[in-house]
């Protein structure tokens, strides 16, 4: 029966998502590429849609769970960069569970809104994308200037970090590595954060399990700005949830750390859902994992899109339940485990993975990226400026 095969695929994806979500440094794009490389063999046993649903399940559960290491370990992936500070602050007040629950609410609500808006968004992408495509390099340049100018502390350091990341990105992408983004992102966003966490001597207090109180009006306002800014940014390559959050924050009045957690997690999901929509409407997935879904499934028609969205709905339920349950476990464990040893263990694991996957060339990128990743927190500027590593090569590619 096809339905059992599809559901099994989705569940396996959810299980992989638990691993990638709670392990800092293991990104879904990496696992998706591994699945893609095994797909000729796997497709002899299962249908392409089943394999697509494996990635959907993994992606959605990962999106829910990656806020756990971001909050409890201070180790975000590239999409969770901005939420790490508000989340970590709440953790140090004993409100880690509340921080993660806020992200779960943001993720779930944004996904439901995006599914309801899918037909309208398909129309919007079909109309807007041809206009955006013509002026893409110009729009990206303006947005880069906007991100640097909006840096509240040192604009000069923001520019320097952005430029250095850009140069590193160009070098990395022209080295001819198989998975160039893995050592780059692991260094910039994963290991750098973990190294600082070790140095900080964090004393995590006893965590209380309390559900957040979210004012309805503020919650809706935050979700609305996430949907608008996230949908628009998703049409442009190189712009992730962190950049959309900087745009979205402009539309939200009185942005607190708590509200920001909802905004950032909602943007993560908007970005993911928009990838499905752009994959269907313009045959371009803006998220690495979703691009792989497109590669495996082939042409995404209405039925395929509906099936993937059904998979998203199922994984949403699983992801929410897993987040609530696993966060309680983490909240209890955090006060008992040796935080420093845990961070060192994760760094060794990720470094080993980098060497295994990308050999000494990847290790060189990883070490350089880690050094660069230390700069923003030390100089007190936003880590999202490091997304210059993708934006600069993309702009140059479009101009030249």
């Amino acid at each position: 029966m096809l339905i059992i095969e599809l559901l099994l695929g989705l569940l396996i994806g959810c299980l992989i998502g638990i691993f990638t979500g709670i392990t800092p440094g293991v990104h879904i794009n990496l696992v998706s590429v591994i699945i893609l490389s095994f797909s000729p063999w796997l497709l002899e046993f299962v249908s392409p849609l089943t394999l697509g649903l494996v990635i959907v399940g993994m992606t959605i559960v990962h999106t829910f769970l990656d806020s756990i290491p971001a909050t409890f370990l201070g180790a975000p992936d590239s999409d969770e960069v901005l939420s790490v500070l508000p989340g970590h602050k709440l953790l140090l007040k004993g409100r880690g569970y509340e921080a993660v629950t806020r992200t779960a609410i943001g993720t779930l609500a944004a996904a439901m809104i995006m599914i309801a808006l899918t037909p309208a968004l398909i129309l919007l992408v079909n109309v807007l994308y041809p206009l955006v495509k013509e002026k893409m390099s110009f729009i990206l340049l303006i947005l880069c200037c906007f991100f640097i100018c909006k840096e509240p502390r040192s604009k000069l350091w923001a520019l320097l970090v952005f430029s250095l990341a850009g140069v590193l990105g160009i070098v990395t992408l022209t080295m001819g590595l198989k998975d160039p983004l893995f050592p780059l992102f692991s260094g910039l966003f994963g290991t750098a954060g973990l190294l600082l966490s070790i140095n900080e001597k964090v004393n995590v207090p006893q965590q209380e399990i309390s559900f957040p109180v979210i004012e309805k009006k503020q919650g809706f306002g935050t979700l609305l700005s996430a949907v608008i800014s996230g949908s628009l940014c998703s049409m442009l390559p190189g712009l992730g949830p962190s950049q959309a959050a900087m745009v979205g924050a402009q539309f939200t009045k009185s942005m607190t750390g708590e509200t920001f957690l909802i905004l950032n997690s909602a943007l993560n999901m908007v970005n993911m859902m928009m990838s499905f929509i752009t994959l269907y409407a313009i045959n371009k997935g803006r998220n690495g994992a979703i691009v792989v879904v497109g590669e495996i499934v082939g042409k995404i028609g209405k039925e395929e899109l509906l099936m993937l969205l059904a998979g998203v709905l199922i994984a949403l339920g699983i992801g929410t339940w897993l987040t609530l349950s696993l966060t309680k476990v983490f909240a209890k464990l955090m006060t008992k485990i040796n935080y420093k040893k845990l961070c060192i263990g994760i760094i060794i694991f990720v470094t080993g993975l980098v060497i295994f996957m990308t050999s000494w060339q990847g290790l060189l990128i990883y070490l350089t990226a880690t050094s660069l990743g230390l700069l923003p927190p030390l100089k007190n500027v936003g880590r999202s400026h490091m997304m210059g590593c993708l934006l600069v090569p993309i702009i140059l590619f479009l101009i030249l």
């Binding site: 339905i3 559900f211 339920g317 929410t320 339940w321």
Partner: protein, 115 residues
């Protein structure tokens, strides 16, 4: 909003998803038919066949195979040949749309599984 309510919403999401998946999967789940039953009336319809590859011709863009079962044979066109590595004599299950090309029926494969 409290934890119970959030869990309830999550549960409803999953149930709606399963229902939707069930409905679409049922439409996509095509039962296997013998090749001789594929006629002009099957054109543009989805079919599933099982048989042995009797001929195999690979080009950079497509793989053209002749699949034979106990009743008859039919040409199967695969545009995504990288998905499965096929050889002459392999037992395969093909799901795809029936098309007419130069007066002959053929299947444009969507899913190919080798056994």
């Amino acid at each position: 909003m409290n934890e119970k309510r959030l869990t309830k919403i999550a549960l409803v999401c999953s149930l709606v998803g399963i229902l939707l998946l069930l409905l679409i999967a049922e439409r996509q789940d095509v039962s296997t038919s013998s090749i001789e039953k594929i006629t002009n009336q099957s054109i543009d319809k989805e079919v599933k066949i099982k048989g042995k590859i009797s001929t195999l011709k690979e080009t950079p863009a497509v793989t053209i195979t002749q699949v034979q079962d106990a009743t008859s044979g039919i040409t199967v066109i695969m545009f995504r040949k990288e998905n499965v590595t096929l050889q002459k004599g392999d037992l395969v299950e093909v799901q795809g749309i029936v098309k007419e090309f130069e007066g002959k029926l053929e299947i444009e494969a969507k899913i190919v599984r080798a056994f």
